[in-house]
Symmetry: C2
């Protein structure tokens, strides 16, 4: 007999059914005993009769069983159906005890314990929910971009130069030479704009962050996109708006159970993301708080929070684009704003008080790159392989990157990004 | 005016249109000059009149232009439409010369030149085709598994132990400690079967292969899947059949232009993959070739080719599953065949004469792991973090991995896997 899922029980009332899953919980009441079975679709209530009752002692929670019984309607049972007269086989031996009870609505353990025991902690619906949201979100990212004519690429994570920022890069012993782990697919996705015009990549990026904070990871999943033939960075912002609408729409479609388990409401994405220039943003904050922000080159976290609250008040939006960041504070490949010297076509997207992603129009002319790098007092030699991309016809282009874990943390309200990372890597953590 | 794509010209006959793209080719005929413009959708023929003719000299091939003109019907033009009376702006300066002409049907350059200049070589439709097929194939992999109830996961590439095989692993300086680049997500995807039952991951894997061959890469894209509650490895094979049908179906749906450019016909996937036991496979080969294969523990490449040809003859299939490989030749986590001592529930899938993927049912009981590791004379200590997964209820499970580049190479007939890798990494190659 084929196994059915717990969610399919209602279609089999009166029939013999075969279920398989984990012993979620045993409940010994005075007159009856229940075995709650968990599978990937949910929970099933199994009524254990007097005769079999004692054998429940051999089925500690999390033991895997294959179970056959009769599905009967019972309005008092979850889903209106329960299984009676069960017989079962244990598939992998009695499960050994865990430092927490998986079946509790919220696990009673600290974060280090939960991370050490991630393969078991995530069996809890609430713990697992962020990962179901992440999977749906990534699917929405891809389908949105596929629909906009983007092509998925896979670029190398082993690179020959520690460009981009130079610092915080992991070194690799590469056949006796030195290689590095890519901090982003930035250069490669730009190169691929010259081939496909519009590209995206979902993959790991690596930062040797010596910071032990709730926001930093040594490895995370980056959702990168880059597109050619833009007028300016606002064409990039328009794609970002579509991407978040698609990600959140797919979460709503596919991850309803996770949303319920985590008790979450998804944010609305306005038809157009409200946008404010960096200079105006500083001005707004300065006037509201009385601070003198003249000459500031970046927004402090408190300013980002204030601006987010302002966007919520003024535009009814949890999202706010701050455009025109000072060129000096952005990566050398950021396109300057030709109409406002000192300001760039780089932007940040704030979401719920925090910078969620950065994006920009990039430089696309070889000579501009040489100028930008030398203006910063850097040598162009390490960039030779990268700069070559721009000598043979590269269109105006721009792009952005979303840190998957950071986004999911903001959505779920997780205080620590590690809560929404399957197996986080940081200064101290390299296992499991 | 908004830009349109070359593929949209037919809908704008008689109208002023704006195109943008690369100068694919200039053709100076006696009475007329043509500029062929390339964008992500294809080619557009632009007729350059007498007055503008000389200015074509400032538009070397691969220069990026933004062009406005009038679309007119002309049955002799590609697609039945051409653009006349053009005016244009150069977007990024005249392109510098490349070591090959992108516009030729086949590029006249050796593989090292093509790889060094990948961002330009791939502008050629035939060179680019494998990557369009790969993107469609990966989309098909995901949508097939999504439809079968799988969940996508992202597991760490930085790991604390060089398990799996021990050899050929890249070391990383991890905050003063030693870490390694994951050779596969094997252990993590198994752990996640305990959470989601069915998982997949698309991501990079790393092999410090000291072999300088046409098949080995130091980094490639692995399509991994793992599923719980299997009866045996044949449940895994059934999923593989669906996955390849989905991958190839999506290539047919989405990558028609690439198939035409590469002059390819996609293989049929039979409703059931023909399957032969390893012992019977040896017997078949031995009887056909007269070789004495008694006691052989693996198939030689020549044997794989013979078996593939046999499957084509006997079953009309380019695919053949060889199941029941000797336990001694498979990874320690492979489930033995309880009915045939010495043989396992591990299998290979042969495709067009070559092993394409390996898969297996895995062990799922803690004690079986301890026995399997100690039977090989290995210490269990380095596996402690992994073995922990199996102490708290793990269902019978199995899975497989597809090397994306290897599969695309077989599909396109590429002699070297580097031809179908954007930026290959090997013993000698770390740039671009």
């Amino acid at each position: 007999m084929n196994r059915i899922l717990s969610s399919e029980l209602a279609g089999h009332v009166g029939a013999t059914v075969r279920l398989a899953g984990w012993v979620h919980r045993r409940r010994q009441l005075k007159s009856v005993a229940f075995l709650i079975l968990r599978d990937r679709a949910g929970l099933a209530q199994v009524v254990v009769g007097e005769a079999a009752r004692e054998s429940l002692a051999d089925l500690p929670e999390e033991t895997v069983v294959d179970l056959t019984g009769t599905a009967v309607a019972n309005p008092a049972a979850p889903g209106g159906v329960e299984v009676v007269d069960p017989t079962w086989t244990v598939l992998s031996g009695a499960a050994e005890p865990l430092p927490f009870d998986v079946y509790r609505p919220e696990l009673r353990a600290g974060l280090p314990t939960l991370l050490d025991a991630a393969p078991f902690a995530l069996r809890n619906a609430r713990q697992r929910a962020p990962f179901e949201l992440a999977a749906a979100g990534v699917a929405g990212f891809r389908s949105t971009l596929d629909g906009l004519g983007f092509t998925e690429v896979h670029t190398p994570k082993l690179v020959g130069y520690a460009t981009e920022s130079g610092a915080n890069v992991f070194g690799v012993d590469y056949f006796g030479r030195k290689a590095y782990l890519a901090q982003s697919p930035q250069f490669y996705k730009q190169a691929m704009v010259g081939v496909f015009e519009r590209v995206y990549e979902v993959g790991p990026v690596f930062r040797a962050e010596p910071h032990d904070t709730a926001r930093h990871l040594a490895e995370y999943t980056s959702l990168d996109a880059e597109l050619g033939f833009v007028q300016d960075h606002r064409d990039v912002v328009r794609v970002i708006r579509e991407v978040f609408a698609g990600m959140i729409g797919t979460m709503a479609d596919r991850a309803g159970a996770a949303l319920a388990a985590a008790d979450l409401t998804l944010p609305d994405v306005p038809a157009e993301l409200p946008t404010v220039h960096f200079a105006d943003a500083l001005d707004l904050v300065g006037r509201a708080t009385g601070e003198d922000l003249t000459g500031e080159q970046d927004l402090a976290p408190a300013h980002e929070r204030w601006l987010s609250a302002w966007a919520e008040r003024e535009h009814g939006s949890e999202w706010l684009v701050v455009e025109g960041y000072p060129t000096a504070k952005r990566a050398f490949y950021t396109h300057p704003d030709p109409d406002r010297p000192g300001y760039s076509r780089g932007f940040d997207l704030l979401f719920r008080g925090l910078e969620l992603i950065s994006g920009a129009q990039r430089l696309h002319r070889y000579a501009d790159y040489v100028d930008a790098i030398t203006a910063r007092g850097e040598d162009i030699a390490p960039y030779a392989s990268y700069l070559e991309f721009f000598r043979h016809g590269m269109p105006p282009h721009g792009g952005f990157a979303i840190g998957l874990e950071r986004f999911v943390a903001r959505l779920t309200g997780a205080a620590n990004v590690r809560e929404v990372t399957l197996f986080p890597r940081d200064l101290h953590r390299l296992t499991p």
